[in-house]
C-alpha cells in the first residue's frame, strides 16, 4: 500500500520560463523510507512541501499528489487541516527556527493534538511524554524553553512532535543539515528506528548522497524539477544509469580515495528563466548528443533491473562513462 503517490506533478510559478517542477512521479509505501536527492534549486523541497499543501504564492499545479488516497491539490482548507493534523507530518531543517522560542516545548508538542486532534490536556501530555521517551528524551523537557536545550535535542523534540498525531507519512526536509555530524548520525539512526517501530512511511529529502544511501530503501534523484533516476538505493549507487547521478557520485569526496582536486560537474543547472529544450542536463553531460538537445528523455524502466527507472537517452552507456571519470 502506498501512503504517498505523486503522479505527473507539474508546478509553475509566475514569471518563470520553465515549470519549477516538470512532471514528478514519486511513491512512498507504508513502512518504507524513500530518499529524495538533488542539489539546491532542483525542486526537492518544493516537492516535499507540496505534499502538505504548502505551495508558494501564485503556483499553478497539474497532476496529482495523493496522500493516503486523497489528492492534496484539490483539498478544501478543512481537509487540508485534517491531513496536517493527522495523516502527514513534517520535520524541518532548522529546529531552532521552526519552534516558537517564546513557548515551552510542552506547549509545542501538545498544542496541535489539543486544539485540532481533540485530545484533553492530560491525554495530550501523556502522549507527549510517551513520544519524548520514544526519541530518548526525559519528560522534564516538557517544561523547558527551546533556548534551554541543545540543537540535537531540539531536533528530537521536532521528531516527537511529528509523531504526536500518529502520522502515516513523515516528510523530513533535510532534518540533519543544521546539526553537527554526531547529532546527525543519532538523528538518522533514531528516524530509522522510529519509522520501523511506528510503521510510518518516510520521505527523506537531502543533498547528502551518503546519507541517502544509508537511510533510503529507494532513492529518487532530482535535477531541474524532474526525477532523473530512481531505484533501490544499493543498485542505484552501485551502477548509476543517469550521467547526473554518476557525476554526483564521482564528485563525492572520499576519505580513503586518492588525494587531488575534487571532481566537479561543469556548468550550472538551468535557471528558471531559460526555456528548456531537450534534456535539462544536456549542456553539462559528457554523453550528450544532438538527440539530447532536441528531445527530453522520459523516465523509463531500465531493462533487466526491476524498480529502476531513468530519464536518459544513453542510459545503457552511462556505466562505461562513469568508469572513465
Amino acid at each position: 500500500m502506498t501512503v504517498l503517490d505523486i503522479r505527473a506533478y507539474r508546478l509553475r510559478l509566475p514569471n518563470t520560463a520553465r515549470p519549477v517542477l516538470a512532471g514528478v512521479d514519486l511513491t512512498v509505501g507504508a513502512r518504507e523510507t524513500v530518499a529524495l536527492v538533488g542539489e539546491s534549486g532542483s525542486g526537492k523541497s518544493l516537492t516535499s512541501r507540496s505534499v502538505l499543501g504548502l505551495l508558494p504564492a501564485g503556483a499553478a499545479t497539474e497532476g496529482t499528489v495523493r496522500v493516503g488516497g486523497d489528492d492534496v491539490l484539490t483539498m478544501t482548507p478543512e481537509q487540508l487541516r485534517r491531513l496536517r493534523t493527522g495523516t502527514a507530518a513534517m520535520i524541518f531543517q532548522d529546529p531552532r527556527a521552526a519552534i516558537n522560542p517564546l513557548r515551552r516545548l510542552g506547549d509545542f508538542l501538545t498544542e496541535s493534538v489539543r486544539l485540532n486532534g481533540g485530545l484533553s490536556a492530560e491525554a495530550a501530555t501523556a502522549r507527549a511524554t510517551e513520544m519524548l521517551d520514544a526519541v530518548g528524551l526525559p519528560a522534564s523537557v516538557l517544561g523547558r524553553y527551546p533556548g534551554q536545550v541543545s540543537g540535537g535535542m531540539l531536533q528530537r523534540v521536532m521528531i516527537a512532535a511529528a509523531l504526536m498525531g500518529d502520522p502515516a507519512l513523515i516528510l523530513a526536509d533535510e532534518p540533519t543539515t543544521a546539526l553537527d555530524v554526531t547529532s546527525q548520525a543519532e538523528v538518522v539512526a533514531l528516524l530509522g528506528d522510529l519509522q520501523e517501530r511506528f510503521g510510518t512511511g518516510l520521505l527523506f529529502v537531502t543533498h547528502d548522497l551518503g546519507l541517502a544511501a544509508a537511510i533510503g530503501d529507494r532513492v529518487y534523484v532530482m535535477y531541474a524539477g524532474r526525477i532523473v533516476e530512481t531505484g533501490p538505493a544499493e543498485a542505484l549507487f552501485a551502477r548509476p544509469r543517469h550521467p547526473y547521478t554518476a557525476a554526483l557520485l564521482a564528485s563525492t569526496p572520499r576519505l580513503d580515495g586518492p588525494r587531488g582536486r575534487l571532481a566537479a560537474i561543469e556548468g550550472r543547472p538551468p535557471g528558471l528563466r531559460d526555456e528548456p529544450v531537450g534534456c535539462p542536463f544536456a549542456l553539462r553531460c559528457p554523453l550528450a548528443t544532438s538527440e539530447c538537445t532536441r528531445q527530453a528523455p522520459e523516465l523509463l524502466p531500465v531493462d533487466g533491473e526491476p524498480g529502476r527507472r531513468t530519464a536518459c537517452h544513453h542510459s545503457d552507456r552511462t556505466g562505461e562513462a562513469t568508469a572513465d571519470a
Binding site: R84, G86, A97, A98, R103
Partner: protein, 284 residues
C-alpha cells in the same frame, strides 16, 4: 527588528538610560494611578463643595493646596480629577490598541488587496489632525467623555496598526509559523496564540507612549471646553476654570493641574520609552 516605535518629537527626547529618572517616573506613575483608584478615600473634601467665602484662598491647614475661584478645594479636585484624566487616555489606548492590532494583523496576514485597503485607509487618518477630528466629533455628538475618547482612539489607531503590520510581516516570515501551519493550525489560531503574544511587548510599549499623548490631547480638549462636562473634576478643565484666577494673581489653582498633566505625561513617556528601548535591545 526593523519596526520602529513612533516617538513624536519633543517629549520623546527625555528618554534616558539612567536608572534614577526611570525609577522616579515609575514611582510617579504608580502614585497617580493609586490616587485615581483611591480618590474617594484620599480626597480631603468633596471636590464640588463650594465655599465661596474662602474663594481664591492660599494654602492653609484646612485647604492644603488652596481654593479655586469657585471656592472648591484644589487638592480634592486634583485627586478626584486624576480619575477622569487617566480614564480618558486609558479608553483611548485600550480602543486604539485593540482595534489597531486587529487591523494590523489582518492586513499583514492576509496581504493582497485587503492589506492595501486597510493600510491606505488608516494612512488617510494620518493626514487628519487628531485634535481636529476630536473637535469635529465632539461638536456633532456634544459634551461628554465618550465622544472625544472615540475620536482620539480613531486618530491613534494608525500608529498602532502600522507598527503591528510591520511586526507581523516580520513574524510571519519566521519558519515556526510554517511549522505550526503544517501541524494543522489555522491562521487565526497561529495569530492569536503565537504571533500576537510574540509582538505584544513592542505594541504595549507603544501603547504606553500613546497614553501620554492621549492624556495631553484630552486635557487640551477639556481646556477648550470640549471634553468632560463642566462640573466633573478634570485636570484640563481645572486649567480652564483657573484662567481667571491667574489673571487676578492667584495662579495656584491653574498651575497645579498643569504641573500634574506635564509630570504625568513625562512619567508615562519615560516609562514607555524605556520599555521600548528594552524590548528593542532584547535579542530576538
Amino acid at each position: 527588528m526593523t519596526a520602529v516605535l513612533t516617538r513624536r518629537s519633543g517629549l520623546g527626547r527625555i528618554r534616558t538610560a539612567r536608572a534614577p529618572l526611570h525609577r522616579i517616573c515609575l514611582g510617579f506613575v504608580a502614585l497617580v494611578v493609586l490616587a485615581a483608584v483611591l480618590a474617594p478615600w484620599l480626597a480631603p473634601d468633596d471636590p464640588n463643595a463650594v465655599d465661596l467665602g474662602d474663594a481664591l484662598a492660599g494654602p492653609s491647614a484646612e485647604h492644603l493646596l488652596g481654593v479655586d475661584a469657585a471656592g472648591r478645594d484644589t487638592l480634592a479636585r486634583l485627586v478626584t480629577g486624576a480619575r477622569t484624566s487617566l480614564l480618558g487616555p486609558l479608553g483611548v489606548v485600550a480602543f486604539s490598541t485593540l482595534a489597531g492590532v486587529a487591523v494590523g494583523v489582518t492586513a499583514a496576514w492576509r496581504g493582497g488587496w485587503l492589506d492595501s485597503v486597510l493600510s491606505r485607509s488608516t494612512e488617510l487618518v494620518f493626514a487628519f489632525p487628531g485634535m481636529l477630528l476630536a473637535i469635529l466629533i465632539v461638536s456633532v455628538y456634544g459634551e461628554g467623555l465618550l465622544a472625544p475618547v472615540v475620536a482620539l482612539a480613531i486618530a491613534y489607531l494608525p500608529y498602532v496598526s502600522r507598527l503591528t503590520r510591520s511586526l507581523v510581516l516580520a513574524e510571519r516570515a519566521r519558519p515556526y509559523v510554517e511549522a505550526y501551519q503544517v501541524q494543522g493550525h489555522s491562521g487565526l489560531q497561529i495569530c492569536l496564540r503565537h504571533v500576537v503574544p510574540g509582538i505584544a511587548p513592542v505594541v504595549l510599549a507603544q501603547a504606553t507612549i500613546n497614553f501620554g499623548y492621549a492624556l495631553i490631547d484630552l486635557a487640551g480638549l477639556s481646556f477648550l471646553g470640549l471634553g468632560v462636562p463642566a462640573l466633573t473634576p478634570d485636570w484640563g478643565r481645572m486649567v480652564f476654570d483657573g484662567q481667571s484666577a491667574v489673571q487676578h494673581g492667584y495662579p495656584l489653582s491653574a498651575v497645579l493641574p498643569c504641573a500634574a498633566i506635564v509630570l504625568t505625561v513625562v512619567a508615562f513617556n519615560v516609562v514607555g520609552e524605556r520599555w521600548a528601548d528594552q524590548v528593542a535591545r532584547r535579542d530576538r
